[in-house]
């Protein structure tokens, strides 16, 4: 079973890299961009075939390591095949 974790800054937290991308796009003449958000995606191959067990274990991984709960939100997707 595969899991996909998407990690992004919480609303209101400064993202210097996204701000730099936005500025650079504008510099290149792409005027139509109103906002840029950067999202980190981590894909995990898991031994279990139980979606609920997979979910619980990935949530724990997010809390302990994958995301920084102080400034980031993590969302978990469980993908059936993988």
């Amino acid at each position: 079973m595969q899991a996909r974790v998407s990690i992004r800054f919480k609303d209101g937290v400064l993202d210097p890299e996204a701000a730099a991308i936005e500025g650079a796009l504008r510099g290149l003449g792409f005027d139509g961009v109103r906002g840029v958000r950067r999202v980190r995606v981590i894909e995990l191959d898991l031994d279990t075939n139980e979606p609920e067990a997979a979910w619980a274990s990935v949530e724990r991984m997010c809390e302990r390591l994958l995301a920084n709960p102080v400034i980031e939100d993590a969302s978990v997707e469980i993908l059936k095949e993988g």
């Binding site: 800054f9 609303d11 937290v13 400064l14 210097p16 701000a19 920084n68 102080v70």
Partner: protein, 735 residues
């Protein structure tokens, strides 16, 4: 006062205002505050911004000397370093944010202290950090060390200012509340120093730098309250730093300062737009009108409350000369930073804030900024402790083994793992690298050097706050002397627990008294500083930690000394008295597991005599190496010199009534270990006798082992292995 206002509303309590403070707010306004006003009072009267518990005691610090250009009360202190140049410096805490989010907390601490320095017109040239972590075996310690060190390195390295020194020690009292104190030092032209004093009715108030977001709202109030387990879960107050924007801001401010546009400038630090606008207006005795619709924001729908209290990083507030906005705007546009005229200086003495056509705050400035509450909190002295001499010690451990244990202990072990992550050489002016007594940076393009150090021995302060406060100052003084610098002035960062507890308040009062006494005796005034209280978790306070940041001037870098002796066969001279003082010593704690006894006494007159004499010898060019004696005493000092130089040494252990433990590991103050050529040694001893300083020959350099009297020799490799081993092992998971 109407009936409703006699009851303290929930909102006031949530804002950390006491009942008396709430009534004072209502009295000042003649009505109940609007929400934005409540937020303003809350942050401006927080301990962090108002120094309400410490103010009356801080006033006892000596702050003047002929070379002091600006003392406390500005963004940073300023001292004259000759040739029309000044050094600008300050130390500040970022303890609470660093405990919650170590990387960003430490990084933004570095960013904030840099802004305090370049806002005065000084180009930052060096950073130092005094770090106190919990016990190495505590489950959070490793995570916090890793994050804090990476954050300091990440920000400092990106912004291109070398991190050249500091301290890192460990004690269980910091398990739930680490201390991260950052110090920045800059150099400016004496006639181009800028101050944060608003003036000129009608002058525009201008916002520059990064945009305002919802980060760090109420950081100042958070820094003024204790931690608890529950509070740790609620954490909306972390700011994220952007060192590249800071670099742009440094260059833009330097460029603006070269024009003739600027009247006043201040960093938006804790309490952001609120504290910067109120403090600048209060210093200038004027009023301000601000229109928050003009403030550059990063997010939509931000309220006036959020804009006034945001602690977004990399922002400055300036007062410009009227009519020169366009010239200044061009500078910030060039560096791709926001620039907005957000208000005007008025003569009303009031802060009037509008947003969307509505007045959201209208308060008199002085009672908020200048006349905030001042408390004389009850304080209780620490219970006296008994002296503790070496005779009473019964240790099975051989002196050589005790030395190895001390060199490898968390407080004394090599901090290479930390400082190797810092770019300590950027700018190419670092001449005294981390690991010595004081770091040294060249004043660019000259033969002068600035010597920089941070010092404090918290276990001494805990045992006897007054003596501990004195000791922090004299150790900084000695560390500057040993590199050949004339000590100029200090900044400090006083980290204590909850001042509402008389015992904690007693520590603060005692430490300030001791520091003030030492500064007076040594002509070593305090020119800037910061107080961080409520460093507690669930009622357990940290060890009292009044960190001292010392700055000294080396007139000729050719005469600079270090701890490494450069040849075998040099005479080792011990300056200062030996009595075998073991109370509150590192030996007692690390070898015998006991944290007790009175700390070593400090004789300020003797410190001054010894320091002046050692500096004279160094300036005369006859000292080949010098080291201050502190933690671990004579044996540790000599071992550190050997490791730094690659030569061994032979140390005499006198057969007199002083036990060898006391001789080797006692922590008497006012002592130095010097290495001189044989031909110069007798002259130095004669000079010492003439000026009334005790000095004696204690050994000779040479070989590749350290020999302590009749003990078996210890190879330099073994010393290094123990000294270098601890931190990498801890950080790689062992310890």
């Amino acid at each position: 006062m109407n009936a409703a206002s006699t009851i303290v509303p929930e909102a006031a309590r949530e804002h950390g205002l006491s009942e008396a403070e709430w009534h004072r707010v209502v009295g000042i306004l003649g009505r109940e505050p609007r929400p934005v006003e409540l937020g303003i009072f809350s942050v401006m009267w927080s301990e962090h911004c108002s120094y309400k518990s410490s103010k009356r005691h801080l006033a006892t610090f000596p702050t003047k000397a002929p070379w002091v250009v600006q003392g406390p009360g500005e963004n940073a202190g300023v001292v004259d370093i000759g040739d029309g140049q000044v050094a600008v410096f300050k130390m500040e805490s970022h303890n609470h944010p660093s405990f919650i989010e170590p990387y960003q907390g430490a990084a933004t601490g570095v960013g904030g202290i840099l802004r305090d320095v370049f806002t005065m017109g000084a180009r930052p040239v060096a950073l130092l950090n005094a770090l106190r972590f919990g016990a190495p075996e505590h489950p959070r310690t490793r995570h916090l060390v890793r994050g804090v060190v990476a954050g300091i390195g990440g920000y400092g390295n990106c912004v291109g200012v070398p991190t050249v020194g500091g301290e890192a020690t460990f004690h269980r009292s910091y398990n739930g509340n680490i201390l991260v104190n950052a110090m920045a030092v800059g150099v400016a032209e004496k006639d181009r120093v800028f101050y944060a004093k608003a003036s000129g009715i009608g002058n525009p108030v201008v916002y520059v730098g990064a945009k305002t977001g919802r980060d760090g709202i109420h950081g100042a109030t958070m820094a003024s309250a204790e931690f608890s387990e529950a509070k740790e879960a609620a954490r909306p107050t972390v700011q994220v730093g952007d060192p590249f924007t800071e670099k742009l801001l440094i260059e833009a401010c330097m460029e603006l300062m070269a024009t003739d546009c600027l009247v006043a400038i201040q960093d938006m630090g804790a309490a952001g737009l609120t504290s910067s606008s109120f403090e600048m207006a209060a210093r200038g005795g004027c009023g301000v009108e601000m229109d928050l619709d003009q403030v550059p924001v990063r997010e939509r729908n931000m309220t006036a409350y959020e804009i006034m209290l945001s602690e977004s990083q990399e922002r400055m507030l300036c007062v410009l000369k009227e009519g020169q906005e366009a010239e200044a705007a061009a500078v910030f546009e060039k560096w791709d930073l926001s620039f907005a005229t957000v208000g005007r200086i008025t003569d009303t003495g009031r802060m009037v804030i509008r947003m969307a056509g509505e007045t959201v705050a209208d308060v008199p400035i002085d009672p908020v900024a200048g006349a905030s509450p001042v408390y004389d909190r009850p304080h209780e002295p620490a219970p006296p402790r008994l002296p503790f001499y070496a005779e009473r010690l019964m240790s099975e451990e051989a002196p050589g083994d005790a030395l190895l244990r001390l060199l490898g202990c968390p407080d004394l072990c090599a901090k290479r793992w930390i400082w190797e992550q810092y770019d300590h050489m950027v700018m190419a002016d670092t001449v005294g690298r981390p690991g010595g007594d004081a770091a040294v940076v060249r004043v660019h393009g000259t033969e002068k050097g600035l010597a920089l150090t941070t010092d404090c021995t918290p276990r001494y302060v805990e045992a006897d706050p007054r003596l501990g406060g004195m000791q922090a100052v004299v150790e900084a003084w000695r560390n500057l002397i040993t590199v050949g610098a004339r000590p100029l002035a200090i900044t400090n960062c006083l980290n204590f627990g909850n001042p509402e507890r008389p015992r904690v308040m007693g520590q603060l009062v005692g430490a300030i008294e001791g520091m003030a006494e030492a500064c007076r005796a040594l002509d070593f005034p305090v020119v800037s500083g910061n107080v961080s209280l409520y460093n507690e978790t669930d009622g357990r306070a940290v060890q009292p930690t009044p960190n001292v940041g010392g700055v000294g001037l080396i007139r000729d870098l050719g005469r600079m000394t270090g701890i490494a002796f450069d040849a075998p066969g040099l005479a080792l001279l011990l300056v200062g008295e030996c009595v075998g003082w073991m109370g509150a010593s590192l030996y007692l704690r690390e070898v015998l597991g006991r944290e007790e006894g009175a700390p070593p006494p400090v004789d300020l007159a003797a410190e001054r005599r010894a320091g002046d004499m050692v500096l004279g010898l160094i300036e005369a060019g006859i000292v080949r190496a010098a080291h201050d004696l502190s933690d671990g005493g004579l044996a540790v000092a000599l071992a550190e010199m050997c490791m730094a130089s690659g030569f061994g040494a032979c140390l005499d252990v006198p057969d007199d009534n002083l036990s060898s433990t006391g001789w080797l590991f006692g922590e008497e103050q006012g002592r130095y270990l010097l290495a001189l050529r044989e031909a110069d040694a007798q002259g130095a001893l004669d000079l010492a006798r003439n000026v009334g300083v005790l000095a004696r020959r204690v050994g000779t350099t040479g070989g590749d082992t350290l020999i302590l009297g009749a003990e078996p020799p210890i190879s330099l490799d073994e010393l290094r292995a123990r000294h270098e081993g601890f931190l990498p092992r801890l950080m790689n998971g062992g310890a």
